[in-house]
Homo-oligomer: 195 residues x 2
């Protein structure tokens, strides 16, 4: 296998994507940008075109934002309160014809498209699993067939120096992932794909 | 709400993405392209950086490809056999510390990054849920903590005229999605976000 430069090989939007904690608290996101990121999500593929995704969109200063912020875990709330948007993502787990087994998977497809559109707009996104699902369900009256899944913080990059010290260090830490040879296989399980 | 042009508002890679059935059976995909699409997937975000994704990569002519093709439903096999790659995506549902509840969601995030990298390479991708999970598990010895989730067909666009007639019509049909006002909410469930 030849040595290759991982991030240089991939599209700049994907290569530059990361999940910051330092957001600019003073710079709002335009309606056009919000529209574009939701449209990007909406055009994702899904099993049988079931589109098992919904988004609850909070903008800093409005009641929706305040309720999503309240549902976040303490550790997330400390930095996410600087984000311009807090978007709650919701999976439709049951449809007219029974369970939608691909609900979480397809919500993931749509959320990735949202995040990459965010990057294309010069913004950053940080998806979080750390929030109270019950609080989110209660706050918005989410029906039983639907499940709150993630909160995505969106905004312009802020100054890492404004973060609490422990978070500041994480902000500058290099990203890490399991190696490709432990991730992509061929032939049998665990056998690295030859690239 | 002003009238806006949905696809014009979003990044060209996302706007142009669709799931074709007409693939060019004669044009192989380079190793560099396979590397880039897997790298794009590998750098996706995930809950607690758990990276609950694996990929089994079949290239037309190899045994891995043949086994994935065999696992596909009849309706998918008829066109997917022209794809240059068949990639089986796998979610890690259980880890060292118990169930990974975000496995399918995060696999969706990674798969969307793979698909958009495919688009950036001038190729197309078509993710499928229609295949035998049992056959796929048996064919590759996938452990019980992991679940086969999707097969992604990848290749250069082919000639729709070569498809069976019923599929040819679907190839040219406009894509459709539920409206944004039924997808993005604010305030309370079902109340359209004001954009």
């Amino acid at each position: 296998m030849t040595i290759r430069n991982s991030l240089a090989a991939i599209h700049p939007l994907i290569a530059a994507r990361r999940s910051p904690r330092a957001f600019d608290p003073a710079r709002p996101v335009s309606d056009e940008a919000v529209y574009a990121m939701l449209e990007a999500a909406r055009w994702a593929p899904s099993a049988f075109n079931s589109q098992p995704w919904r988004f609850i969109v909070g903008r800093k200063g409005d009641e929706t934002y305040a309720r999503i912020l309240d549902a976040l875990s303490e550790g997330n709330r400390v930095w996410a309160r600087n984000a311009s948007l807090l978007i709650l993502t919701v999976a439709q787990e049951h449809g007219e014809h029974g369970p939608l087994r691909y609900a979480w998977h397809d919500l993931g497809l749509a959320t990735a498209q949202l995040i990459l559109q965010v990057m294309a707009l010069g913004l950053y996104a940080h998806p979080m699993a750390g929030f109270s699902k019950d609080a989110a369900r209660d706050a918005f009256g989410i029906p039983v067939d639907f499940a709150p899944v993630a909160v995505v913080a969106v905004g312009y990059l802020g100054d890492a120096a404004d973060l609490p010290e422990a978070l500041r260090e994480r902000e500058d830490a290099p990203r890490s992932r399991r190696s490709l040879s432990e991730t992509a296989f061929q032939g049998t399980w665990g056998h690295p794909a030859v690239l």
